[in-house]
Symmetry: C2
Subunit: 417 residues, 2 copies
Amino acid sequence: MEILAIFRALPPGEAQEFFLKLGIEQQAELLLALPSNERRLWFRLLDPDDAADVIQNVPSEHRAALLRLLDQPTRNEVTALLCYAEDVAGGLMSPRYTRVRPDMTVAEATSYVRKQAAGRVETIYYVYVLDCGQRLLGVLSFRELFAAAPDRQIKDLMHTDLITVTDKTKQEKLGRLLQKHGLIAIPVLDSDGHMIGIVTFDDVVDAVAEETTEDFQKVGGSEALDGPYLKIGLWDMLKKRAGWLTALFLGEMLTASAMGYFESEIARAVVLALFVPLMISSGGNAGSQASTLVIRAMALGEVTLSDWWRVIRRELVTGLSLGVILGTVGLIRILAWQGVFHIYGEHYLLIALTVAISLVGIVLWGSIAGSILPFILRRLGFDPASASTPFVATLVDVTGLIIYFSVANIVLGGTLL
Amino acid sequence: MEILAIFRALPPGEAQEFFLKLGIEQQAELLLALPSNERRLWFRLLDPDDAADVIQNVPSEHRAALLRLLDQPTRNEVTALLCYAEDVAGGLMSPRYTRVRPDMTVAEATSYVRKQAAGRVETIYYVYVLDCGQRLLGVLSFRELFAAAPDRQIKDLMHTDLITVTDKTKQEKLGRLLQKHGLIAIPVLDSDGHMIGIVTFDDVVDAVAEETTEDFQKVGGSEALDGPYLKIGLWDMLKKRAGWLTALFLGEMLTASAMGYFESEIARAVVLALFVPLMISSGGNAGSQASTLVIRAMALGEVTLSDWWRVIRRELVTGLSLGVILGTVGLIRILAWQGVFHIYGEHYLLIALTVAISLVGIVLWGSIAGSILPFILRRLGFDPASASTPFVATLVDVTGLIIYFSVANIVLGGTLL
């Protein structure tokens, strides 16, 4: 129990700060390592949302015992939080926020808020105005309350153009709302419109950063790692990477079959084989560009499922243009090399044409396949970030070969083939 | 001037909120579109950090005129901010924060803070304790000030374990510090230790999210887009993508040269060509995994330049293991296909061996090249995210071909070759 040893070695004044700054998993580990008479003291230090997270991180047989360590009101709050997934507002929210009534004066509200600040309220950036039925009527920044004349009434000062979320709102959307409106906290309402908590920006920022890292790792063709790159064990690292790499390898084996299908063409015109890597990688690169742009735009909420047709139309034009550019460069390259080295034989012009035409088709197809795959994955309920650049490249490789050799058969039929 | 028309159509009560919620570029556009007698009113609504951003976003001939619209103290603040790059603390900070003296009582400090809250202070999440020489002595959360007994002295309540940054601190580091310590704002000190402003989380969150999007787009092999995917013009989109795609295409042309170098081997054993796409894509996929993991770890500060040797050692072990796994799968695949279809001729065992050994080398090399390229780019002063998956794939393709055909020459020499 290494963490317990560190904890014991701390001077008494620093133990509390150390404990509160630990990650959830380490807090859980430390709590379980402590003798039960100390466990209550430390567990009660946690805010309800953090306590709920800790409980979700201990083996299930310890959960009931930990819950019993809390006083009854806190236990109710924590139990309510436990019913939510960790990535929705209900699971991220804190039930402890500052509330006032609309008919209070500023002086009354200030003194009421001061009592709450001394007690169990987590944050006082905003003061929420609730009616007797727990319905949210308005909000006031703490600064506004503080700067207002003492005899004014809250209901005359509060803002009623409210930004709220439900307990089911996903963390990505929370992040976008907080960012768009420049808020530090956002109120959470249940399905009947009662205020049940607030989500503060720091919880969401952590959650969104974690999500982004996962997206990044998936786009590169790994599973999401469970920890920092240098800290994760080699065996775990291998497991996260070998699965996808093997799956992609199995998919890529179809290229060997596709090549086998065109084996006689290659035997008759070995020169065709020279451009195979160039062909398939161009499709893969165009696909990588398109898929990462779409995946990130989806994560930012700039592109939704219903935009699929707009995206295809864009990629049709972009892919075609990119294909024409690469096709032209390829044409020039072959003609130039032929002019200098004379390596492509008497039919060099037809070969150059085959390469150029194939590039237009392959880059166009790569752009469309790369941009549409994230939509298909999301529609099927998977993470669009799984449309990783290696996945797209593999998908495009087989079709790229078919395009290339089909064009070759048409252009070179009767001469080389 | 579409934005001006929208602005004019708003009811008077909503114009102010509309203006303040606009992005910097739109604020700049609107200000320039307004007649000069109205321009002053609206420009003065902005906080100094936002005013500085607007000035940086108007054509240079308008800058001096805009600056003259401000009152003298604000003009000084804005001019100071204009000297900083937009991605360092000095350029992100606000000079308006809440300050108190250490020898004030809580009651005195509260009344002093109240005056500041009514005036030009941007945020009152924290109260900073400064001595007469503008040196930062301590900090107090607003909640702590608010909940404390009125007769206590600030110096007995303040925290002196300060997290501070300098005006040169980069936004990525600001983001990590805010997140790690759960802060809403962080004080900025100049080189002499005087407090010159605060950076609040919302400015940093925006900046970091933008940076992450750029990383994402670069990793996919594009230049960073200047706007949302669906909003950016087709011509701009093409420019951002065609450059890299063409550069990669030119690099990838080396594969045609490499293939040409081994043309006689291919002519003698066409079966070798069948596995070329499989070989190079396996190297590219392994490289993609490694480079994205390292790029993200660098962006999160988990991996720094000095870790390069640790990363290489990790990738040596991981890459070798992944290579052995894929090599084994490849070996089994060829033997199985041979058993069923008899398509690889009498030397199928040697071919299978060539493929398996090459895969070990190619995957190992892909992992190492992919992980080390971000280090090299950063060391040379480039963005490590430019080690995009297509870039790594292109780099690995040529070397992959050389590895494959060299192994073939050794294993198949005397039989097929």
